[in-house]
Structures are given as structure tokens and as C-alpha cells.
Symmetry: C2
Subunit: 223 residues, 2 copies
Amino acid sequence: MLKKLTEEKLNEVLETGIREFAERGLQQTSMNAVATQAGISVGVLYKYYENKDTFFLACVRRCTEELEQFLHQLCAEEHKPLQYAEALIGAVQQFSRQHRDYIRLYHEVTHTGNPVHAAALAQQIEGVSSKLYTDIIQRAQQSGDVRSDLDPGLFAFFFDNLLMMMQFSYCCPYYQERFRLYAGGDILDNTDFVTAQLLKFMESAFTLEQADIPHRSPKGEIV
Amino acid sequence: MLKKLTEEKLNEVLETGIREFAERGLQQTSMNAVATQAGISVGVLYKYYENKDTFFLACVRRCTEELEQFLHQLCAEEHKPLQYAEALIGAVQQFSRQHRDYIRLYHEVTHTGNPVHAAALAQQIEGVSSKLYTDIIQRAQQSGDVRSDLDPGLFAFFFDNLLMMMQFSYCCPYYQERFRLYAGGDILDNTDFVTAQLLKFMESAFTLEQADIPHRSPKGEIV
DNA sequence: GTTTCTTGTGAACGACGGTTCACATCTTGT
DNA sequence: ACAAGATGTGAACCGTCGTTCACAAGAAAC
């Protein structure tokens, strides 16, 4: 009955932590409960993690690693910006379905009252995607595929804002309810429709140079 | 020294609650601390509010009332959709500066782990704005001021998503840091820039019927 | 097989905080 | 002015964890 914790068991502990933190939040989650649910004792949990905060951060780290891997996989192939956008929207929907708890945990991290430092976490989590998006947009602007009268960083910011809210809307109870208020009761099952609409909403922001004054783009078409 | 609580005092209690809940979150906030800071005893706090949850909900209610008033004031005048958008962005910025804690409390409400029911709160808070935005967009679509190939509800949803994220970026530490990663500077020092960029981002979504095929709007201009 | 070291166990400690209640203080009616 | 009712006070109760530690159980060395 008494065995050294296998790597597998340690994974189970992390997954349990993620599930509990995602469900109840940092404060509400009990270390004793995590240990029991993972089938170990509290004591050994504290042998592996200094305290609750450290354990929480380890859970977050695990989630961001998975997320980054997912993102890099997706961005390996070169695309036109609108294809990127479409791929990203689809990927976000898929990730939301597969890893609901990761998204919930992510939302938990944004929480103001958390003792853990917001700044460091923001860098850890958003650092990769912010650079990635900004670069893609910058390159697309230089090649003329994207309107160039918007700051690439802010453009990427708005873009990611829409993706973030979509994730939350699929995974967090409050945002799900809010989503329903705007779009009707069965919207959560209607992923294709949402994708199409969001893509339309975005594509205009990508390609329009100025809304009220028609003019010629660097390539010569009327836009 | 012992007086019946005046209306003024009760207001102070609510404001203290809002401040504490916004700063620390529902769980982290101590009723004893609220009472002390507001200059009353815990006992009497429990005479006015059944328990912590009830008090929390009262604080939230106070915030939504103020928000709704602000919103109605703004929407009293008829505008073209883009003017609405501009007015709303400005209003959101102003509100964020004046009532940082309200926004933080709002963010706290979206928290998954809260015992209070998400669905009811979402309806209370988002009900007004969702209907308002959707109606405005629907009317603008009928009058030809807004592209009609997007579902009004979803359009309003995306629109509000951008506004929400802007509020959070102004008021919540994590989102402030995230903004810095994207934009390279503090959001509070760049309000005009953010407004201009967000407006550009939105205005194209408003007026463009199809991104890749230039055509004539009902009014005759090339868009 | 015995000793020693490593690792896991879980009862218990201590701090914290939601909630209560016996009491103090003020107000009102007479 | 006094009694009865209403209202405010805050120390204390009690349950809930985060965390520790004396001990137990396996592994390794000899």
C-alpha cells in the first residue's frame, strides 16, 4: 500500500489540482481534498510542493505548457492572416471543448484578489501569444495583406480579446449564460455559426483601410 | 455614540463592501473587516443582511443600478451606430476611471467558484445592455447604416466583448499587465490612442458588407 | 537479516472568519 | 420620568483549512 509516487501519480495529482482549482477557485480549494481525491496523503503533497500557492502555480504552468504546444502546432504552417484567424477560432473552440478546466483555471488567474502576482503570471501566459499575434499581423501589414493604419500590437490585442471572450463563453458558467442572452439558448452547440460570424466580424477589420473614405490600397484595388 | 444607522451610514457600508469585495474577492473579504472599516459592529451588519452572500449581492445590485443609469443617460439621444460606439467607448473609459471598484466587482461576479448563482446574476447584469445593443444594431441594419449580413445578437455580443475587455484592461491588475505586453505601455496613459484604434477596428466591422468584393452600399458610396 | 535512509501517512495544531447572542444603549409611548 | 421595545455592540463559538510532525512502511546498503 505504501509506494513511491510514480510519475503517473504525480500527473494525476496535477490534474486533480487543475480540476479543483478550476471548479472552486484558489481559496475554496482544500489541499486535503485534493490529496484525498488524488489518492495520496496531504503530507506527501507538501513534500512535493512548498505550499498551496506553489502547487497552484504548478497547475497553471502545466496548463500553459499544453496551450503553448497547441498554439505552436497550429502556427507551424504559414497562412494568410484570415486563414490564421479561421484556424485559430476553430482551434480555440476545440481546445475549449477538450480542456474546459484549463480555461476556467486561466480565468481564475485573472482574478484580482489572488495573492499570487498578477504581473508575472500575465507574462508567463500571455507572453507567447502576444508576440506571436503581433508578429503575424506586422508581417501581414508589410506584405499588404492587412490594413496598415492600425497599430499591430493593439490590433493583436483586440483580436486576442475576442478569442479570450470566446473561450470564456464556452467554458465559464457566467459567460455561458451571458452568451445565451445575446445569441439565444442553443448557441453553445452552434459552433460553426459562431465561427462564421466571428470571422466576418474580424475580416472586415483586417482588410478595410478606412471606413468612410474610399481610397486605393498599396496594391491598387479599391478597398 | 449609539445611534440608529442613517441612510448615509448604510451607503457607506455598501461602498465599503464594494471596495473590499473588489479588492479581495468574495471569499477573502471578512465581514468583521467590512464592519470595522465602515465604523459599525458586525452584529448590526447581520441585522441588515442575512449573511455574506446577501450582502455581496446587495453590493453588486448597487453597482448595476449605477451602471444602468449611466447607460440609459448615454443612450437617451439618438445617434448613428458609429457615434454610439464612440460615445460608448468614451463612456466606458470614464466609468472605468470613476468606478474602478465597480468593474473589479463585476469581474469578481464572473468567477466560476462563487456560490451565488451565475445565471441569475448574468441576467441581472447583462440583460439590459444585451437588449439595448441588439436593438440598436437591428435598427441600424434596417435603416442601412450597418451591414446586414451579421446576426444582430452576435454582432452585439462581439461588440460588448470588446468593451468588457477594455473595462477589465483599465481596472484589473492582470489585464493591465496583459495590455502592457501587447501595447508596450500603460493603458491608463494611452486612453486616446486606445479609443481611436478600437474605433477603427470596430468601424470596419460596422460598415463593410463583404471584405473581398468592393461594392456599393444602399446609400451609393463605395465601401 | 538487520540497520539506515528515504518516503508516505494522517491526526492534530493554530489561525482565521462567518455567525450568534447576552448585553448595553437609545427611542418611544405614557 | 420610567417602562417597554427597538437597535447597536463585540466577545466568543464553531467549523474550516493550511500546514506540521511523530510515526509507519518500504528500499537500500551491508
